[in-house]
């Protein structure tokens, strides 16, 4: 192989050597379109089973070629993070770059090896295509450019959260989770593809995509502003939210969901409390309506409603039976998960807007409902679930068989009680974990070792508590047993509680789906413990309403019946929070907003 000299004088007959080609065949391909290569970028195909309609493809498309189309009949479930929308592609814009495929969080979108499409001028509508698995002409073509490990543009791994080691954290009630550093937060925020699934699934529809983007942009004020659009309990929700958003997160389809809760926490922690108060006060009307609203219960629902109403210019007074605000978030959640100063900060934001809270004022005792009715234009009861349910198993009336709510409140208030050297917790929810881990800490402080057993009805595949809670509880020395139903408490001759007997669970629900656990009588176990804690649920103490009011109100299986807006059957009374929606902070917040809107519109009339 050599070059050709510039001065070369080849024979004039050289070209004639190529006459040989007269006798050679052609290299022409047949007229049929060849099959394209294995990763060809042809027309789109979309697996509708996998696709969740998150519209990430639409966002990355550089040519604005993707339109989201709603398709009735497809499953739609905001909680699971599924929308009944599918992308439609405009082939008058598409450039087949495949970025949509590379970024698709579910991996449903792919490019096929089909590449021939022609049409006449009046058939141009065929350029607007709703890709399905069958290709644009309904003929199957193999996939071409498809999701691969190399090609994935989505970062599937979340930023690790720094936590205290189990040995360290068990020693105190100090907060376990350290929170993100600036760097981590920005990286974690950058993982978000802004699909808005979290917004849809959130009970109070927090503007998570917006505040995550603001965090990514480094504009934390804006992030707080976005958070306060829907949630005045942001410090709390940044720590202990049940985060349905993360379940719905489209990144979570194949990887770790974006740490939305931690990002919220990061934003709230990074902005000074004074600045938060300023931001929260934005949008408050500068006049008073002259209307007065009483709120009973300074929990998330009540305070949220108070926050909304006071911003609308109403005068709001909150009656709280205990000495501090926060309700179950304060008295039900241990400090290692939710430090009280953060809770105080949230409450301080609300009070700074002009909400008055009367502490240690129990309605029914210190003030009656009738008084409230006369004094105020509207009354909201947001009592929460402050009474623990009992299993009513034999021996459960023993004094050392305690309810978790009660015990947690005592721990919070610093009330002294005998810390048992061993304890059994009945229940598999987060409350059970809370009490178990709180007890573990107390035991550690008192005795230097942990002897707590948790028995849960559910098996680990259907566990109610967060996996992290379970994991951390285990790390802290809590023994957790699944599929065990309580049979009875064992009390010895001296009347001392010795432990709990449990049976193996066969099934929890009957065939009609009602709660009716059946046990395997042969599988009996004994769990020693000098205290048994029931953490199987809570209920509301509605005694404060008084008999007359209780009769006026409509009830539904022991719960107050309210309409969609939280309005009870009595015109001046609304109800909200856990007592209506069940135990969850963010639901309570959502409920508070809803009721506040209802009260506001009623008062405006």
């Amino acid at each position: 192989m050599s070059g050709i000299s510039y001065k070369s004088k080849g024979s004039i007959l050289n070209p004639l050597k190529n006459l040989a080609f007269l006798g050679r065949g052609s290299v022409t391909e047949p007229l049929e379109p060849r099959e394209a290569s294995a990763n060809y970028r042809g027309f789109h195909v979309n697996d509708w089973e996998l696709c969740i309609g998150c519209s990430t493809c639409q966002k990355v498309c550089d040519n604005a070629a993707i339109t989201m189309v709603k398709i009735p009949g497809l499953p739609e479930d905001p909680v699971k993070g599924v929308r009944n929308e599918r992308p439609a592609i405009d082939y008058g814009r598409c450039c087949w770059c495949g970025l949509c495929v590379d970024i698709c969080p579910t991996g449903s979108l792919a490019l096929s090896r089909e590449y021939v499409h022609t049409c006449r001028e009046d058939e141009l509508d065929s350029y607007f295509v709703l890709p399905d698995p069958n290709g644009i002409h309904g003929h199957y073509f193999p996939k071409g450019w498809d999701k691969s490990v190399d090609a994935d543009l989505v970062d599937l791994e979340r930023q690790p959260m720094t936590e205290m080691e189990s040995g360290e954290r068990i020693g105190s009630f100090a907060e376990i989770v350290a929170g993100y550093s600036d760097q981590q937060a920005i990286i974690e925020a950058s993982r978000c593809v802004q699909c808005g699934m979290c917004h849809d699934s959130c009970p109070t529809h927090m503007h998570a995509p917006e505040y995550i983007r603001a965090i990514w942009e480094g504009n934390l004020d804006e992030a707080v502003r976005q958070i306060y659009r829907t949630n005045p309990f942001s410090h709390i929700c940044g720590r202990v939210c049940t985060r349905r958003c993360e379940t719905a997160c489209s990144i979570g389809r194949r990887g770790d969901p974006v740490a939305i809760r931690w990002l919220k926490r990061y934003a709230m922690d990074s902005v000074s409390d004074e600045r938060v108060r300023e931001i929260a006060a934005e949008g408050k009307v500068d006049y008073l309506t002259g209307r007065k609203v009483a709120v009973i219960g300074a929990g998330p629902a009540g305070l949220t409603a108070a926050f909304d109403l006071v911003k609308k210019g109403h005068e709001v007074t909150v009656y709280e039976a205990l000495e501090k605000a926060g309700g179950m978030t304060r008295y039900g959640i241990p400090e290692y998960r939710l430090p009280y100063d953060r809770l105080d900060a949230d409450v301080a934001v609300i009070t700074s807007l002009g909400v008055g809270i009367r502490y240690n004022t129990r309605v029914g005792r210190d003030v009656t409902m009738q008084q409230l009715q006369q004094e105020y234009d509207a009354v909201l009861i947001a009592l929460g679930l402050q009474m623990g349910r009992s299993t009513r198993i034999p021996g459960s009336d023993h004094e050392n068989v305690r309810r978790s709510v009660e015990l947690l409140r005592m721990i919070t208030e610093g009330e002294k009680f005998d810390i048992p050297d061993s304890a059994v917790v009945i229940g598999g929810g987060n409350v059970a974990m809370d009490i178990a881990r709180s007890l573990a800490r107390l035991q550690r402080q008192a005795y230097g070792e942990v002897r707590v057993t948790v028995v849960a009805l559910e098996d680990f595949d259907h566990f109610l508590a967060d996996p992290e809670e379970v994991k951390e509880a285990r790390e802290e020395g809590v023994e957790i047993l699944d599929s065990r139903g309580p049979k009875g408490c064992v009390i010895d001759g001296q009347g001392e509680l010795q432990g709990l007997k449990t049976l193996g669970v066969l099934s929890i629900f009957d065939e009609k789906g009602r709660f009716a656990p059946s046990y395997d009588e042969s599988d009996e176990q004994f769990h020693p413990g000098h205290m048994v804690i029931e953490a199987i649920g809570q209920m509301t103490d509605t005694a404060l309403l008084g008999d007359k009011l209780t009769e006026q109100l409509e009830w539904n299986r022991g719960r107050l019946r309210v309409d969609e807006e939280g309005h009870t059957s009595v015109s001046w009374l609304w109800a909200a929070g856990d007592m209506v929606t069940g135990p969850d902070v963010v639901h309570a917040v959502a409920d508070g907003h809803r009721v506040a809107a209802s009260i506001d519109s009623t008062l405006a009339d």
Partner: protein
């Protein structure tokens, strides 16, 4: 020969020429395809092209002279066909002869010049000036060749020339008796057919096909028809002068196709010369070969 017979021949000869010419066009395109390693057009492609061109609805004319020019271009060849004897038909060969033929062969180029001049497209004008120069260039060796052949056979009657050669068998072919003139004629043939390296007046990349630039529809169709006549004429003329004409169609057809295949093949292997290179080349080697051949013939 009765006038009816003559009339029949005069009708048949151009018709045959046209059909054979179309086949030659196809052959050219197939040769090109073969060398370029591809399949090439289907069998009836030249007909499709011509029918299509005549069926065009828009027929842009640039005036009477323009149309006349095209008619001259086609007519010149049609007239020439009558002078080219084919097996079984002599047409006017014995009456017209070689000299008339040369004249007729110039008519198309002149006709084109006339027609293209009306288009006022500078590319066309440049093209036609190049075409005329090229004609001047290849006509010199061509005239020498014709003169030499006529001198050699002592006649300008093509039918006679063919007959003389056929009488002596292959060794009596002009090619054998006057190899230098045959060679010179090959060059002239290449130029006459306007094939690379003498394609200077079409030159798409330079002057956008020159004379044809403003032609469309039936005018373009006319040029396509002219092209098939041109190939036929060139092939038959060379065959008669140097390859013994046609004893019968079976030998005649291979000969004329072989003759035109040569320039067509060469054309695929060479680029085009510039005009002055073309003239220089034409007036150098073919003319020298022709003159030398002439000298041999004269001796």
């Amino acid at each position: 020969m009765s006038w009816q017979e003559l009339l029949l021949e005069l009708t048949l000869m151009p018709l045959l020429a046209f059909v054979i010419g179309l086949a030659m066009v196809l052959m050219m395109r197939r040769i090109a395809a073969q060398i370029q390693r591809r399949v090439g057009p289907p069998l009836l492609q030249p007909i499709y092209d011509i029918v299509k061109l005549y069926s065009k609805q828009t027929q842009i004319s640039h005036g009477f002279i323009h149309e006349l020019g095209i008619m001259m271009a086609v007519g010149g060849y049609i007239a020439a066909e009558a002078l080219l004897p084919v097996p079984g038909m002599d047409g006017l060969a014995d009456k017209g002869g070689l000299i008339t033929l040369i004249y007729f062969l110039m008519v198309p180029t002149l006709g084109m010049a006339l027609g293209v001049g009306q288009c006022a497209n500078p590319n066309g004008s440049i093209g036609i000036s190049r075409a005329l120069t090229a004609m001047l260039a290849y006509d010199i060796p061509f005239v020498i060749v014709v003169f030499g052949v006529a001198f050699h056979y002592q006649t300008t009657n093509l039918a006679e020339i063919a007959a003389i050669q056929q009488a002596h068998g292959v060794s009596g072919w002009g090619m054998m008796e006057m190899p230098l003139l045959a060679l010179a004629a090959l060059f002239a043939l290449q130029g006459m057919m306007g094939k690379q390296p003498f394609e200077v007046y079409i030159a798409p990349a330079e002057i956008a096909t020159g004379p044809m630039v403003e032609m469309s529809g039936k005018f373009m169709g006319g040029l396509f028809v002219m092209q098939s006549f041109q190939y036929y004429t060139a092939g038959v003329l060379y065959t008669i002068l140097f390859l013994g004409g046609g004893e019968n169609w079976l030998t005649f057809l291979p000969k004329i196709f072989a003759v035109v295949a040569i320039p067509m093949t060469i054309a695929m292997l060479f680029p085009r010369f510039r005009t002055e290179d073309l003239v220089r080349l034409m007036w150098k080697w073919p003319v020298m070969a022709g003159l030398l051949g002439l000298a041999f013939v004269m001796n």
